[in-house]
Subunit: 149 residues, 8 copies
């Protein structure tokens, strides 16, 4: 068995790197959104031309990013969504809902402070964890049946 | 043509009542989540027994509410999602993602302050508006072809 | 909102009648398998001719019953599956898996003794309860937002 | 033609090894659930933290295992489900129902004593056999057209 | 429970009338192809203009009839396909395959002489019968649980 | 049998009225896009606010109209697309492609001059006609089996 | 572009070999049913045990063969169905219907005598030809754009 | 992440070559329709025999080409549709609608003069550009996160 995993959500810490490094010996392929915040915000106008109105500036970028995020979620067996401590992160919750509707295995990663606010998202997940290392343990168990020592 | 509309999101103002009243003469049927906040939070334990751990208290409630919200979204032609000024509202963004993945016509309702944070949600929508009255105008136009005077 | 509910599983007690009576004031329509055990076992040969081999006797009946059970599950918004105290009841677990794969809202009804053996089935459910009255409370809450007093 | 086969059900005998060994010369890839009973029962709490309540202990494990079992069934061309002599094995019947709803080719493996109790499961199958060697014969015939001598 | 039944196949005997009359007290709605042989053959050219080449004459008619047959099969819960004693009846077998691929409950109606030639079609069916009266008995049992006396 | 028919395409002649009048005695329900050209062009900005850039002016309107057109096509059994003598009419061809991908029965209505340019669209259709009266004849035949005299 | 092609239907001439040989230089992979008539008829009882009743003898075989044929059709981009001069060949028409319902590109291969009897099957096809060499020409054109000289 | 891209539409300029050359260092595989205009028009009759009536001449070709175009669109992650300055190009708009209904990421490529006439097509797209080089920039950004300098 191999797994394709999409890592959605918070882009300001190195949680993706931790998971990818921890799972280096496993038969997993990872996809992610573009995590360069500036590029992600401006990609639309950089390629398709400037907009006077910030709303359309954002629209062009968000639709362009959707080419990558939709592909990533649709190809995935497991979608991991991380909620960080800051920002609204509505795109993360949107991705979680999108993944749930497609029947993907959803793993949610967040600190205990967000538990109540994320209860509907967590309720759609097959696992809820607090640390990236636990995501690695999940992938290892799912693929090999080995539990952490 | 008739429309089934699901009204998702913020539950602390009367925006749903405004839309339903404004559309009273149209061939629309509306569904919504349970909007009694206390009942929505405690429904799981009230019916299925108390939990010592708040996480499972929340889980029981969120899964019970999912029976209604999933049905509501899946039956809908149009899903309207409102983001208010307060709270994380991750369930609203989750519903928007769920609706988008099912190919529903998505209408997003929020104030201008949230525009940048909601750009991925807005980018999946067929309409983005600021006021409940605009949702009524949209429904009226879609069903009758009449524009506001 | 209306709900279509399919009542699958144990056929030796009156749990279906309890639920239907309890939900008499709600906008719910119920479907069930044929609950006449003898008719259900013999329907195939009664209509399509006797079989010397019990295996084919059973096959004819089970396939005929499948016309009704598949229709019932596929039309349902909510599938309630009850496991009683006796028998293997593999058809009940089969129906639960069938409903889960179709994305139906699954409610499982069983006594506490079966909890460990049913953990995979329960894990696919949005609610797990012990008494038919709790199913009625769930349907009432989902449709009206009212909790039991 | 190649086949992907998921081997679901009983985990206390070596029937999977027999099939895999017997099909070693065929173009088949096999997947299975985690068959280490203790790991399978405790995986959830081992990775995501202990639970005071056995119900949630089981839930965490069952949902984690579902990441693997759902992937295995969804990727499979053929789902083989074995029912052994002991235990309730409701998860096996659940997997059979799940596979049937997805339109997978279902092969059921059980002794003659279970035939009546499994009639609904058997009726959804394309083959019902008693011995692992027959599953190998089926795979060989499907892939090569060769019958056993 | 109500059933929608599509009656496909042989058009030279009154088997449809027998079934419809026999099921008059049941909650069933029936659809059928156009059973006027001449109209069915010539409908395309009658409406869309004559063709010099019989192949296109037939094509125009067959595609026009497909509007009705596809709708009938797609709406049906149960597809009954009857094979008579004469003609190739490839359209009947085509309809059976179409219905099977859509997951419809298939009932096949034919005399014993055709059993071997129809074995693949029968193998996709939930019931195989010889007489229209048996179809009525099946519908009665599925809807009411009553067996013939 | 009843039919739901969506009338897509050219909005400058009364072809829809001719079909609806001609089919008045048939069990058909019709849907159409908004056929008021000015309203259709300006609906977005009239409800959601003016745009300085014509591109976004058009975008707002086209997305709003999509709520109606997608619903109309998705609900339809038969999608009739008419190409007139003037304009690019790319939205008509887009609707035809959309309907074809959803497996709808497609009827194309155009004059002989457009036959070569529309060959790919026609090739996806079950009927190609030149006059609205022929669409009525098709609906009458499909529903009643009656051919024009 | 690569193509996966399933060759269904008549098994008494070497038409499959002609197509496979003719397409040897193309990027096509072919699948077929088991074409050993005796093995195909008896596979079920050879593996799963003898049956006294020919009907169940045939059933066991037909369901076993369905594992291969359904996989072959579901994996295919193009399904070629050949009707020979003899026999009822209802399984060929069944496969054509099955493929059509799944949206596969259907190519039908038969002599001119069968044209009227196969008009519904032909009407669901993207190409109708008389000779295996034409199927090779079709595959070559689809993959390379080259026409026969 | 890898991308499969289908290049639909205008066949009289070298825009496909520009995109393929520009993306030579990216992990993209491209498919296209047959772009030899004469072969595309005549393929049907060249392989399946001449037709006296141009309508059927075109039909045979268009259906044969559909084997390739449907496969190309269905396999694609991204469908790019270019509208040139000339011709009706209804097949391009048809492909866009087909892709949209399948949920493909749609990129539309056209000059500013066509913006109003293409507003419904553009409204279904995730990106609208004017030059082939912008399509390359989009593919590069989606796959690598790099923006043009």
């Amino acid at each position: 068995m191999t797994l394709t995993v999409y890592l959605s959500g918070e882009i300001h810490t190195d949680w993706r790197d931790q998971i990818i490094a921890g799972a280096a010996d496993l038969d997993v392929s990872f996809d992610s959104p573009v995590t360069d915040h500036a590029a992600s915000d401006d990609c639309g106008v950089a390629i398709m031309g400037a907009e006077a109105d910030k709303f359309w500036h954002d629209r062009k970028g968000a639709q362009l990013n959707a080419i990558r995020t939709r592909k990533g979620i649709e190809m995935a067996d497991v979608v991991v969504v991380r909620f960080g401590d800051q920002y609204k992160q509505w795109n993360a919750a949107f991705d979680a809902g999108y993944a749930a509707a497609l029947g993907k295995s959803l793993v949610v990663l967040h600190g205990p402070d967000h538990a109540h606010a994320l209860k509907e998202v967590d309720a759609a997940a097959l696992a809820v964890v607090q640390e990236p290392a636990q995501v690695v343990q999940i992938l290892r168990y799912v693929l090999t049946g080995k539990l952490p020592q």
